[in-house]
């Protein structure tokens, strides 16, 4: 279903002279997607990376769900202005507004605005460097906020067509690499 819609959008995108605009068009045509992920997180204080697994779900225009199943269940949900973090084992459930967390918004938008194909929002928070074309592309985001750049230096995104495959975050606290594979 999703794939067919993305295919329909392809000929249009192929005609566009700007490959970034073409990728954005494909992404914005992808209204829903599901994927499973593996994430490797390096933390300076730990002698080995933390590996976690789970599923990702995107629904346009603004809902992104990251459900971790391993090693501990967790739900990270962004919807509209609201970010929810649930950790049932710890009895934790927290909702915060993005407006109340200015340092969090650029990190959320790096993923969400990309999935939405919303280059304007993306550029509002990050400097964007693009390479590749719609079949295989890579974007490197550098946060505009100097304060945030003190903690997160860059976010690299890789994708194939309307599918976001790799998210690599480089920060003070180490590197995090998330790899997604389309869910059946």
């Amino acid at each position: 279903m999703t794939g067919r819609r993305a295919l329909l959008a392809l000929p249009l995108a192929a005609q566009a002279p700007d490959p970034l605009a073409a990728v954005m068009a494909v992404l914005s045509a992808t209204r829903e997607s599901r994927a499973s992920f593996v994430e490797e997180k390096e933390v300076p204080e730990l002698d080995r990376p933390i590996v976690s697994r789970g599923t990702l779900a995107w629904r346009a225009p603004d809902r992104l769900e990251k459900r971790t199943t391993d090693p501990a269940p967790e739900l990270f949900l962004v919807e509209g202005d609201r970010v929810t973090l649930e950790r049932p084992q710890r009895g934790l459930r927290e909702t915060i507004a993005l407006d109340a967390a200015p340092e969090l918004r650029p990190l959320v938008e790096a993923l969400r605005a990309t999935l939405a194909g919303d280059i304007a929002t993306l550029r509002q928070h990050h400097e964007v460097a693009f390479s590749g074309d719609t079949t295989l592309w890579r974007m490197v985001l550098v946060p505009r906020s100097l304060r945030l750049r003190g903690a997160v230096q860059r976010i690299a995104l890789e994708g194939r067509g309307g599918f976001l495959a790799v998210v690599e975050t480089q920060g003070n606290e180490g590197r995090t690499r998330l790899m997604a594979t389309p869910a059946p």
């Binding site: 730990l46 933390i50 990251k66 909702t95 507004a97 407006d99 920060g171």
Partner: protein
């Protein structure tokens, strides 16, 4: 017109005196002026809290009429702006607004301040659990936050401390701010200025409204606001609106009536002279004695002086054909003098009531009455032409019916007896015991306040515990001991919960394990976990540093404004030392709380509601006692002036009127307040005028009796036209007065007619 030139000149002089006098008089609108002086330590504490306690500095704001996200945005915008405003000591909206400097200071002192810094938390098993928790946190999406605190504070002392401050989460948080059903975002702002500082409170209210406007609220968003500043403004606005409405309407109605009765607009000017003289005298005397005038005393006193309309009416109407007005004044003076003396005697109890507000009122009315009577006796005859004003005769049938009432005296007395029995059987009218009912603040405003406070989770402070000590440290230690003693019966909020005593801080630091011991325990706890050996070096360094830090004390909180604001309402310096308050927020067992409190030396338990009711009851008791004395004084005066039989007749008319009034109030379901009682005293004074003037005509011709009747009817109608309108007011003091006097005056008039001496020749 030239005949009245002197009258107008006198009025112009009086009118010009008002602004001059008002410029030097301070007007106040403080409800506690209507509370008595305190007799017990509990009462003194209560009165001080009512006047200047923390609750009087609190503004509660609700924002509604938009989507929750927008409301949260407005709330944040307002909080940011108001936090930067030096007029506010503390602004909270559910989001944590600790600035970085304060956070750093509190973080450094966490092992002294946090209740979670117990020796058990530093034992190996607890450390192991803490480290596993940190690892779990690092795995989560909240990892950046976890890293920020947990590596230096794996036991979570700092976060436990902040959680403790936030309270038990009574208010739901949505979009990062307090949000009640509705949706309604909630915000609390505590002013630095006292609640009684009306101007500062008004400025604070304006600042909150401005912050709302600056937060760019979408169309439809509303700001609800409550607090002392609002109360003062609303009370003033209500009283002002009431007074404007009543004075305009009664001016028109009384003016119209007098114009009809005296066929001349001049009568209004005549009536105005004693009224203006009385008001000026009342204002001047009260300001001279008290240094200020209470708004309610002025409003109430002014209307009370409406009664002095009677004096010029009695003067002009009682003039016999061909008599010079000067002679009429001399002829009725003994009766008028007796009426005024008795009225002043009736007002005397108010001076001794113990309520500064009521004392003002009594003084205002008494001095006004005397001044108005003197103006009627000596000033008016000199200002008016000797023939006075022509009086339209009463409708003959009405006069006949009223003058023949004494023939039905038996029926009237039987009726009074019946009402007295009914009153005794039903227990009489119920007394008002709620202080709030006396407040001039309109009911909807108070209802909103209650609603907002309930939503914000401000505890319904029914019981407050207080203790005194010579130093802040001693007060904090005493608060800690008391809180421990009471912890079985209730959850206690107190200053040491936020800032423990220096002794407790030192004890916590002394209980921390030695550096080497802690390092060894940490290494053991880390066994098998993926942490590097150096991962918790910041923790070890901070514990070592904490031991060297001097305890935080109340006077060292310059860099911690939030902490300072939290403890300010709970610990304060007073002239005779330091006072700590303990607020039970969740009383599980009131009796146990009381018993536990009694076991702590020096701890004062104040049951706010019971204490307030006791105050009011004590007050009412005092007022009734003085009223009884006033009544005796009135009886003695009447007996001296009219002989035993005449005095008894007038007393019967008066007593009957009071009886009928309270019976009617009970039938209307009114709860009797101190204001009804005061109004009853006033009514006694007015009713006495009627009885005195009606029975003055004992040995005189029918024509004289008809004149007396005409003058008394005119007095009654003007009084009804003013007080009848007061009964429609919203302000409790004005309404209670209006209702009581309206019913009473009608009853007093009919009884004065019925109990007047029988005439030998009916007309």
């Amino acid at each position: 017109m030239r005949r009245f030139a002197r009258l107008f000149l006198a009025l112009a002089v009086l009118a010009a005196a008002f602004p001059l006098l008002l410029r030097h008089v301070e007007l106040r609108s403080d409800i506690t002026d209507f509370l008595p002086a305190a007799g017990t330590e509990e009462a003194a504490f209560l009165l001080r809290e009512l006047r200047s306690g923390a609750a009087t500095r609190l503004l509660v704001a609700g924002i509604e009429g938009a989507a929750p996200g927008e409301l949260a945005g407005i709330s944040r915008g307002m909080a940011q702006r108001l936090s930067a405003d030096p007029r506010f000591a503390l602004v909270t909206n559910g989001s944590t607004l600790v600035n970085e400097e304060e956070a750093a200071l509190l973080f450094a002192h966490r092992y002294a301040l946090s209740p979670a810094a117990t020796p058990a938390a530093f034992a190996e098993p607890a450390l192991r659990a803490s480290l596993e928790g940190v690892l779990d946190g690092l795995q989560s999406s909240a990892a950046p936050l976890v890293r920020r605190f947990a590596l230096a504070d794996p036991t979570g002392a700092f976060l436990a401390m902040l959680r403790g401050w936030a309270g038990e989460g009574r208010v739901a948080t949505e979009h990062g701010v307090w949000m009640a059903a509705g949706p309604r975002a909630l915000l609390l702002a505590q002013t630095r200025a006292a609640g009684l500082d009306t101007q500062a409170q008004e400025a604070a209210v304006a600042a909150v409204r401005d912050a709302f406007a600056q937060a760019a609220p979408p169309a439809g968003a509303r700001l609800l606001l409550s607090g002392p500043g609002i109360f003062a403004a609303e009370a003033a606005a209500t009283v002002r609106a009431d007074v404007r409405l009543v004075s305009t309407l009664s001016f028109v109605l009384v003016g119209g009536f007098l114009f009809w009765r005296y066929r001349s607009p001049m009568m209004l000017a005549v009536v105005a002279v004693p009224l203006a003289a009385g008001t000026l005298a009342g204002l001047a005397v009260v300001a001279a004695v008290f240094g200020h005038v209470h708004g309610a005393a002025l409003g109430f006193g002014m209307t009370m002086l409406g009664v002095v309309d009677d004096y010029p009416i009695l003067l002009v109407t009682n003039r016999a054909a061909g008599e010079a007005l000067r002679d009429t004044a001399r002829r009725i003076w003994p009766t008028l003098r007796l009426a005024v003396a008795a009225a002043v005697a009736g007002l005397a109890p108010m001076l001794a009531s113990g309520f500064p507000g009521l004392a003002q009122l009594g003084l205002f009315a008494a001095s006004g009455l005397v001044a108005a009577a003197l103006a009627t006796r000596f000033l008016l005859p000199a200002l008016l032409p000797p023939e006075g004003l022509a009086v339209r005769p009463l409708p003959e049938r009405l006069a006949h019916a009223l003058l023949r009432l004494p023939a039905r005296r038996g029926v009237v007395l039987a009726l009074l007896a019946l009402v007295a029995v009914a009153m005794a059987a039903t227990g009489g009218p119920r007394m008002e015991r709620d202080l709030a009912a006396l407040s001039p603040v309109p009911e909807p405003v108070r209802a909103l306040d209650g609603e907002l406070r309930a939503q914000v989770g401000a505890p319904d402070v029914r019981v407050v515990l207080a203790l005194r000590a010579d130093t802040a440290e001693a007060a904090l230690q005493a608060a800690e001991r008391a809180a421990t003693a009471l912890s079985g019966a209730a959850t206690i909020d107190h200053a040491a919960r936020f800032l423990p005593s220096a002794a407790t801080q030192r004890a916590r630091l002394a209980a921390l394990p030695e550096d080497a011991v802690l390092a060894a325990r940490l290494a053991a706890a880390r066994e098998g976990l993926p942490f590097r050996a150096t991962a918790f070096d910041p923790f070890l360094a901070d514990v070592a540093a904490a031991r060297a830090l001097a305890p935080l004390t109340p006077d060292g909180l310059g860099a911690a404004p939030l902490l300072a604001a939290r403890i300010a309402p709970l610990l304060r310096q007073e002239p005779d030392g330091w006072r700590a308050l303990l607020l039970p927020t969740d009383i599980r067992d009131p009796a146990a709380l009381r018993a536990a409190a009694a076991g702590v030396p020096g701890l004062l338990l104040v049951d706010i509601k019971a204490e307030t009711e006791a105050l009011l009851a004590a007050n009412t008791g005092i007022a009734l006692r003085w009223a009884a004395l006033g009544a005796i004084a009135v009886l003695l005066l009447l007996g001296a002036g009219r002989g035993a039989a005449g005095g008894a007749r007038i007393a019967a008319a008066l007593g009957g009127a009071l009886l009928l009034t309270f019976a009617a109030l009970a039938a209307l379901g009114e709860a009797i307040t101190i204001f009804h009682l005061t109004a009853a005293l006033l009514l006694a004074g007015v009713g006495m005028d009627y009885a005195l003037f009606m029975s003055r005509s004992e040995n005189t011709a029918g024509e004289d009796a008809a004149r007396a009747l005409g003058s008394v009817i005119t007095c009654m109608v003007t009084t009804l036209l003013t007080f009848g309108l007061l009964a429609l007011c919203r302000t409790p003091v004005l309404r209670a007065t209006g209702l009581t006097v309206t019913i009473g005056v009608a009853a007093a008039f009919l009884l004065a007619c019925a109990l007047a001496p029988r005439r030998s020749t009916p007309i």
